[in-house]
């Protein structure tokens, strides 16, 4: 099968949905001729024109509101926030408007909208261009949060996100943009709400997503050679969590390490730990171990960054700790 880059897979998803459905629009900064900061929208302005690829001034809160207004009127906007760090500027619209209208107006409107944004550290971007902030969004009712870990999933998942009649936060990863994977030519969808077992195993489950899922898979292959088999569960959906899939895996392996690129405190790992403590404590043979960022900003220097961002060694240490408890 052909292999394509992660950002190209996203680009294809956008192109296919825009060709199929006239109501799909792109809106964001520098998404036209420039093609977006990470080239996800490259070529789309040329193909679909200015009425479908709407470039905005640097007004994040207001263009999020504009997208919400468009969605109320039946369009399906796909918003790009250039770096996830900047989503802070649009937080009011997302929190108090986009995600509230369907419920608070008692179903009179719905907001079919996707917010795409690159997250994660990529060697030197520094404190305001490297954050993985998805944990801030999982507690917002009315918002679905998803994050793909490979090009195949990215393409099918983005198409599902655009098809969904509700707001979806679609978290991309800057390092993953430059990774390749098999993507068929034929059309397919990946469901928004299902976790996937990426590797089966019996000794311990690593729960992860996005770029950290790829690191977790590397750790699992490494350990297999030493006779330890890890199960690796790709969450895909961070909100709502696929509780069934999570608990089923824990019942099987009885040990769990959760790996993500956000801060440990109040993070995705914290939420999963709480879920397991409530729903599955009787199956666990060892404490839940979280791998995440310490509570520090992400330093710019690559010599410093690597100390705070999880890597294979940190995951391996956590797995060791859990297995040897």
């Amino acid at each position: 099968m052909r292999e394509i880059y992660f950002n190209k897979a996203l680009n294809e998803a956008l192109r296919e949905k825009m060709s199929e459905d006239e109501s799909v629009l792109l809106i964001g900064e520098d998404i036209g001729v420039y093609g977006g900061a990470f080239k996800v929208t490259e070529g789309l302005l040329e193909s679909f024109g200015e009425k479908r690829v709407i470039e905005t001034p640097i007004s994040e809160n207001s263009f999020m509101g504009v997208a919400t207004g468009l969605a109320m009127m039946g369009f399906k906007p796909v918003v790009e926030i250039m770096f996830m760090d900047f989503i802070a500027l649009a937080f009011d619209q997302i929190l108090n408007h986009t995600t509230k209208f369907h419920y608070m107006y008692n179903g009179q409107v719905n907001i079919p909208m996707v917010i795409r944004t690159p997250a994660g550290a990529k060697g030197g971007y520094g404190p305001s261009h490297s954050q993985s902030l998805e944990a801030l969004f999982i507690g917002i009712p009315g918002l679905k949060v998803v994050a793909p870990s490979d090009p195949y999933t990215a393409k099918g998942l983005l198409k599902s996100a655009i098809n969904d009649p509700n707001p979806v936060l679609f978290v991309e990863n800057k390092v993953l943009y430059g990774t390749k994977g098999e993507v068929p030519e034929e059309s397919y969808l990946i469901p928004l709400n299902q976790a996937m077992i990426r590797r089966e195993g019996t000794d311990l489950t690593i729960i992860s997503y996005s770029r950290m899922l790829q690191l977790s898979l590397k750790v699992a292959s490494f350990l297999e050679k030493q006779g330890v088999t890890l199960e690796v569960l790709d969450l895909i959906s961070l909100s709502p969590l696929d509780e069934e899939a999570i608990i089923a895996s824990i019942k099987k392996t009885k040990r769990v390490v959760v790996v993500d690129e956000g801060c440990k405190t109040g993070g995705i790992g914290a939420e999963i730990s709480a879920l397991l403590a409530e729903e599955a404590i009787e199956y666990l043979d060892a404490p839940i171990i979280r791998v995440g960022l310490p509570n520090v900003p992400i330093p710019a220097s690559i010599f410093l960054e690597r100390h705070v961002i999880p890597d294979e060694q940190k995951i391996l240490d956590a797995v060791d700790q859990c297995l040897n408890w």
């Binding site: 809160n61 504009v66 408007h97 409107v109």
Partner: protein
């Protein structure tokens, strides 16, 4: 005050302004009796603005509103019964009790929401206008907001976008001189907010918000401009809220003299005087006042008799099922 509006239309305008006044007075009373919870921002004093604006609009035009939105909704043609039921948290309210005063929408009349966040609706209104433009329709959007909201980033960002995209939208600033307790003189770099339009190469028009004819003729000009495809317009209506900002307001930041001066220009009184001068019988106006009061009483009765929503409603409808 002068106008070319015919008698029948004048009576309708008077009726709507009176309805809003009576409705809000009733809300004030219901609050004092503990029959409505939460908070409420009354529109008393500003009736000429909403009614004047909506008089000029077509049914297919859109309105987006603020925290002080009962008047906007009623002026757009909202049903006082469903509004009252919503404020009382009942099942037949506009949003089944989920929204309340600051979060209510009446899609059937193109009223896309009151809003709990100061300036929160301005970008959304801009998006609705963009949708209209992309659909090649010739209806338009009115985005109401206050003087306070005109200091918010949303205002500036949205006016800029509306201008560069030439959107069919009227930004309607109700300058009632205060944002809660903060006077315009302390909060705003300019006393005439409509002049801010210049920064966005936009048409800006002021009007006397206590004189419904001034509002109407100004908004007519704005509507002509916008419907002709010239892009947006910023209209400032100079007005005054007669009550406190909300329930907790002790009105320490303004003087009784100032209040009385504005109350002499009560928009309903001014209109009434004009109508009496134009030889409309006082009894005709009294009948209208009575009718409107009755509508409000009926709304209260309707809302009181209405059932509370069932518990299941609270936890359902977060997502639309695909």
């Amino acid at each position: 005050m002068t106008t070319k509006i015919g008698e029948q239309k004048l009576l309708e305008i008077f009726g709507k302004m009176t309805l809003i006044r009576s409705f809000e007075q009733k809300i004030n009373w219901l609050f004092s009796k503990g029959m409505i919870g939460g908070t409420s921002h009354l529109y008393i004093g500003q009736e000429a603005v909403a009614v004047g604006v909506c008089h000029v609009l077509r049914d297919d035009d859109y309105v987006l509103s603020t925290h002080r939105g009962h008047g906007h909704l009623l002026a757009k043609g909202g049903d006082p019964k469903k509004l009252m039921a919503e404020l009382m948290g009942k099942k037949s309210g506009y949003c089944g009790g989920k929204g309340g005063t600051q979060h209510l929408c009446a899609k059937d009349i193109n009223f896309l929401g009151t809003n709990g966040l100061t300036a929160g609706a301005i970008p959304i209104a801009t998006g609705v206008a963009l949708a209209i433009k992309l659909s090649n329709s010739n209806n338009l959007v009115v985005s109401f907001f206050g003087d306070g909201a005109s200091n918010h980033g949303n205002f500036h960002e949205s006016l800029n976008m509306a201008s560069i995209w030439k959107l069919p939208i009227i930004f309607l600033c109700e300058n009632n001189l205060y944002a809660m307790s903060l006077p315009v003189s302390k909060s705003t770099s300019i006393m005439d907010i409509y002049l801010r339009a210049a920064s966005y190469s936009m048409k800006g028009l002021p009007c006397d918000g206590m004189d419904v004819f001034s509002v109407i003729s100004t908004v007519e000009e704005a509507v002509r401009w916008v419907r002709a495809g010239n892009g947006p317009c910023l209209v400032e209506a100079k007005t005054y809220r007669f009550c406190g900002h909300s329930k907790s307001d002790q009105l320490k930041y303004r003087t009784r003299e100032e209040e009385n001066a504005w109350k002499k220009r009560d928009p309903i009184k001014l209109l009434k005087m004009h109508m009496l001068d134009s030889k409309i019988e006082p009894s005709v106006l009294e009948t209208i006042e009575e009718e409107q009061m009755n509508l409000v009483e009926e709304a209260v009765k309707y809302a009181q008799d209405d059932d509370p929503p069932v518990a299941r409603v609270a936890s359902s409808g977060v997502f639309l099922n695909a």
